[in-house]
Amino acid sequence: MAELRRRACAVIACYARPEALDLLEEASGCRVAPDEALVVVDEDAAGPARARIHRTLAGVDPDALVLDATDGWTAWSLEGADARVAFERLSDLPLPTSGAVAGAVLGIPARVLVTAGSILVLVTSAEAAWWERTARRRVPELEEELR
């Protein structure tokens, strides 16, 4: 059993020198590249988180960029006992026990954040509708979003 549902969250895109990004302590994020990180936080925590991250990064790298990328990404959570099996039907990415990977899910660029309870898949907002339709076609057993 697995369910796929839209998750509201805020996405913060951080660009800075590697040694600055190394200082980030945000619990949920993806280190996309040495000089880029994507941090995912609850919507209502976005403002303070952005300010905090900016303080941390700017202390080391005055050119650090901290941007609100929430609109660029759409997040889906895959939950349930068979969440990992469902993910295997969508992607060949090796899933860590916890942590994040950047790679193709259903063939399009995605960021995948794994926590104890769920697999969070971020795809670009432009491709989100196609992605959901295709995911549900690939895994018909996925339960619809509970409303």
Partner: protein, 870 residues
């Protein structure tokens, strides 16, 4: 257990039956007709290796009857005969080999040319192994699943199970795939007992045993596609153990494909596993000790084994009542519908023995296609696939060694037996005599013979015939020649249903802007433009054009590429990537910019906007955004520039507000910021429009007054709605790509990619003005210096005509083609057809008139003069 429906006849199913065993018990002897000559074919290998039992089951062609469990109500159709497999008038082909000689594709029906199309239709109607269903519901989609394991074991026999058990015991994640059921092909006896013990051991060691799953190839990675079990697996193992076993040698002699000729294991399987007598009276041709097991199994089921021919040592152990024929060899199987007798050559002379079964057990050839296609992937063989004919203990030990990663000791098998004639390739109906002909014609290597005769290229992929083909070549070569190689093994190693291949094939990814639902609500006709789904028209495109020229129109430009470029070397990057001047651009100013490749050719265009703090916003075409990001990063990376390239395309929405009433509309909705209505060309500004924070860019693509409002994607709907409401009395309306096409054509703006060729430098497009050649360095500069030293040979021009112009038509001058029309539209405003196209210089000058599909067109300067100001 119920009944099968075999060609309309009920066939009883008993527990444990496969479709093949049920049919054979019911008296079916001819299972298929052969591909070319319509020869009768019956059960032969019973291990999924030969094509003889391929039937259509419930509309699915190419099903191996011997591997498919029988179930009540299955509709089984035999293929290849007309009107039926039993009474096949097309079997006349078997007497007309001259019409279908080996290589007939290359040598018959060559002249007259029209003959081939008729012949092809005729040949296609009489050959083949089944018909693809073209009506009825589409088969259900097969799901795809990616698996990662430490060890993948292919084959659930003794060696495979031993390998899996051993690897599992050491803590590895092990997946074992078996195409049938574990032990399912084995009659009661020591082999089956050993398999059962090892299967228990494997399961206790945590091995995942997947039955009914077939590995069909080994690719680099390694990557192993596995089909069956209603899903397609893409397995990525760290190591692979191939334990696919061996198949008994396919001997080539006259009549070797008659129903009633059996491979020993096939006959034993039918007798021992399914309790069905393969023959009443059988002759066994033996060269292995295993053949004695087959003799026992046959006698137990009540088959009279009349005689066994083979080497003297083997024949001393025959039971009473079986005549040993020492050193006897089969030269021919005789019979009309099935075997009626065999002819033997013995030291004492020729003999003929009446029988209805000939069981051949001469040795084994490894089923090693997967192993051979593995190349240097981490794959090892275990058991009979590397040591055909090895003992049970050897197979088990070999499996355990393979689990530890050891390379097995491969033993070579003897050369396959090849008579003067007989069928070499059962699938493709290639006989030994055909190979002789091909050899005589000069096709003298395994690979070339294979291509010319199509031997080994059928559904069985050479499982049986590859050794015979190699033996043929070896036999013909001079003794000094190297041993003949087997033909190259390629995926798929086993037949794969198309649905299994299609698993994981999705529609092309599709991008939507934040205004998608608004377009639908406005009744837009949406279509793909590159990866984006975009509105082409909402109603009459002419009205949409008129709105932009006379009132105000809104276009969704949320598809444009948008890049924020920041960091200490941001200025250096844009200066290097773009061929215009960038150092003089003050914050708030923008400039039309071309990105060239190192060859001086135009990659993309857009607007460069200078922001505060040395940052830039760069736009690109909708289709070019991904490539532009990669290009920016490439130039930065190779140049060692410290920049942040932020692709904001999917973060941002964009609305183009264009037309003479646009300033009025914007004045009504701008809440904070400068008066956008007086924003001059080459300027951009931040403003809050209808509550939405925007960056406004003055642009010129459609002509007249136009502003792009870029904003966060989630606010697109609010902004769009506010603009439409506030502009209602001004005649504001949404316009789509069809109208845009006319609007930009009137301005003479090319669509990059549609109106341009891959080797168009800016001058050819009339965009030389956008190049600052006096800038000391930018990508493509030295190429432009080189190119521009030469006269212009081709350029993009505007054409104007009274008659209709069709995009794609050639430009003609005095009957010669001098160019091509790349865009065309009827401009109501100009009262003429206008278009863009490329034109070649003729004798150093560009023609002033050309003919376009019979219409006379004037070559005119662009922008077309009468187009509105701006």
């Amino acid at each position: 257990m119920g009944h099968l429906d075999v060609d309309g006849r009920p066939v009883e199913v008993r527990p444990g039956d496969t479709i093949a065993s049920a049919m054979f018990r019911a008296g079916v002897r001819t299972f298929t007709r052969s591909l070319k000559y319509h020869r009768r074919r019956g059960l032969y290998c019973l291990s999924g290796d030969c094509p003889n039992c391929l039937v259509t089951v419930d509309g699915v062609p190419g099903v191996r009857a011997c591997e498919t469990p029988a179930a009540d109500g299955q509709r089984v159709r035999r293929k290849g005969g007309w009107p039926s497999v039993e009474r096949d008038v097309l079997a006349v082909a078997d007497h007309l080999h001259a019409l279908l000689p080996v290589g007939f594709y290359s040598k018959t029906f060559i002249r007259p040319r029209w003959a081939w199309s008729l012949a092809e239709r005729a040949i296609r109607s009489v050959t083949g192994v089944g018909r693809l269903p073209t009506t009825g519901p589409a088969p259900e989609a097969v799901p795809l699943r990616h698996r990662r394991v430490d060890v993948l074991v292919i084959g659930g026999g003794v060696a495979g199970l031993a390998a899996a058990a051993q690897a599992g015991a050491s803590g590895a994640r092990v997946l074992l795939v078996e195409e049938g059921r574990v032990g399912g092909r084995l009659a009661p006896g020591p082999v089956r007992d050993r398999v059962a013990t090892l299967a228990d051991e494997a399961r206790r060691a945590g091995v995942e045993v997947a039955e009914g799953r077939t590995a069909v190839g080994i690719y680099e990675g390694p990557l192993v596609p596995v089909v069956g079990g209603d899903e397609t697996l893409r397995v990525e193992p760290n190591r692979i153990v191939v334990a696919t076993g061996a198949v008994e040698e396919h001997a080539v002699f006259v009549g070797n494909d008659l129903p009633g000729v059996w491979l020993g294991r096939g006959a034993a399987r039918l007798a021992g596993v399914h309790g069905v007598r393969p023959a009443e009276r059988a002759v066994v041709w033996a060269r292995t000790a295993e053949a004695l097991e087959h003799v026992r199994a046959l006698r137990e089921i009540g088959t009279e084994v009349v005689a066994v021919c083979g080497p003297a040592g083997l024949l001393t152990q025959l039971p009473d009542g079986v005549e040993p024929i020492v050193d006897g060899e089969v030269v021919r199987a005789v019979g009309r519908r099935a075997v009626e007798a065999v002819e033997l050559r013995t030291p004492e002379g020729r003999r003929r023995i009446a029988c209805d079964g000939l069981v051949v057990s001469l040795g084994r050839s490894p089923r090693d296609g997967l192993l051979r296609m593995a190349g240097d992937e981490p794959a090892v063989g275990a058991g009979e696939v590397v040591a055909p004919g090895c003992s049970l203990d050897e197979a088990e030990a070999s499996g355990r060694r393979a689990a530890a990663g050891g390379r097995p000791e491969a033993t070579s098998c003897g050369r396959a037996r090849l008579g003067s004639d007989g069928i070499v390739c059962l699938c493709e109906d290639v006989g030994a005599a055909d190979l002789d002909v091909a050899w005589a014609e000069g096709w003298r290597s395994v690979e070339i013979l294979k291509r010319y005769t199509t031997a080994t290229m059928g559904p069985c992929q050479g499982a049986l015939c590859a050794p015979a083909l190699a033996a043929f070549v070896e036999g013909r070569r001079r003794p000094t020649a190297a041993a003949a190689e087997r033909p190259t093994a390629r995926p798929p190693a086993r037949p794969v249903p198309l649905a299994a291949l299609a698993a994981g094939v999705d529609e092309l990814p599709e991008r939507r802007t934040g205004l998608h639902d608004r377009h639908l609500a406005l009744g837009a006709r949406l279509g793909r433009s590159g990866a984006w789904l975009r509105p082409f028209r909402y109603g009459d495109p002419d009205e949409e054009v008129r709105a932009v020229r006379e009132a105000v129109g809104l276009l969704d430009v949320g598809t444009l590429g948008r890049f924020l470029i920041a960091g200490p070397h941001a200025g250096a990057l844009v200066d290097r990537v773009l061929c215009c001047r960038t150092d003089d651009l003050a914050p708030g100013r923008s400039r039309y910019a071309l990105a060239l490749d190192p060859g001086g050719y135009v990659r993309d265009d857009g607007l460069l906007c200078a922001l505060e703090d040395g940052r830039f916003l760069l736009t690109s075409t909708s289709g070019g955004a991904d490539a532009m990001e990669a290009w920016l990063r490439d130039v930065a990376d190779r140049g060692g520039l410290r920049v942040h390239v932020v692709n904001q395309t999917s973060w941002l929405g964009g609305v183009l507000v264009a037309g003479p009433q646009a300033p009025t509309l914007l004045a009504r909705v701008v809440e904070r910021g400068p008066d956008l209505g007086s924003l001059p060309p080459g300027a951009h500004a931040e403003a809050v429009v209808a509550g939405v924070a925007c960056r406004a860019l003055r642009t010129g693509f459609v002509g007249g007054y136009a502003v792009e409002l870029h904003h966060r994607r989630a606010a697109s709907v609010a902004l769009w709605d506010a603009l439409l409401v506030a502009g209602r009395d001004l005649g504001a309306r949404a316009f789509g790509l069809d109208a845009l096409d006319v609007l930009r054509l009137e301005r003479g703006h090319p669509y990059l990619g549609q109106d341009t060729l891959p080797d168009d430098d800016p001058r050819k497009l009339g965009l030389g003005w956008a190049v600052a050649l006096d800038k000391p360095a930018f990508v493509g500069r030295s190429a432009l210096v080189r190119l521009w030293a030469r006269p212009l040979e081709r350029r993009l021009v505007g054409v104007r005509a009274d008659g209709p112009l069709a995009r794609g038509a050639p430009f003609e001058l005095d009957g010669a083609v001098v160019g091509r029309l790349t865009s065309a539209a009827r401009s109501r405003r100009l009262g003429a057809w206008i278009g863009l196209g490329w034109l070649r210089a003729v004798d150093g000058a560009f023609p002033e008139r050309v003919r376009v599909a019979g219409v006379s067109a004037a070559v005119v300067p662009i922008p077309f003069e009468e187009a509105g100001g701006g």
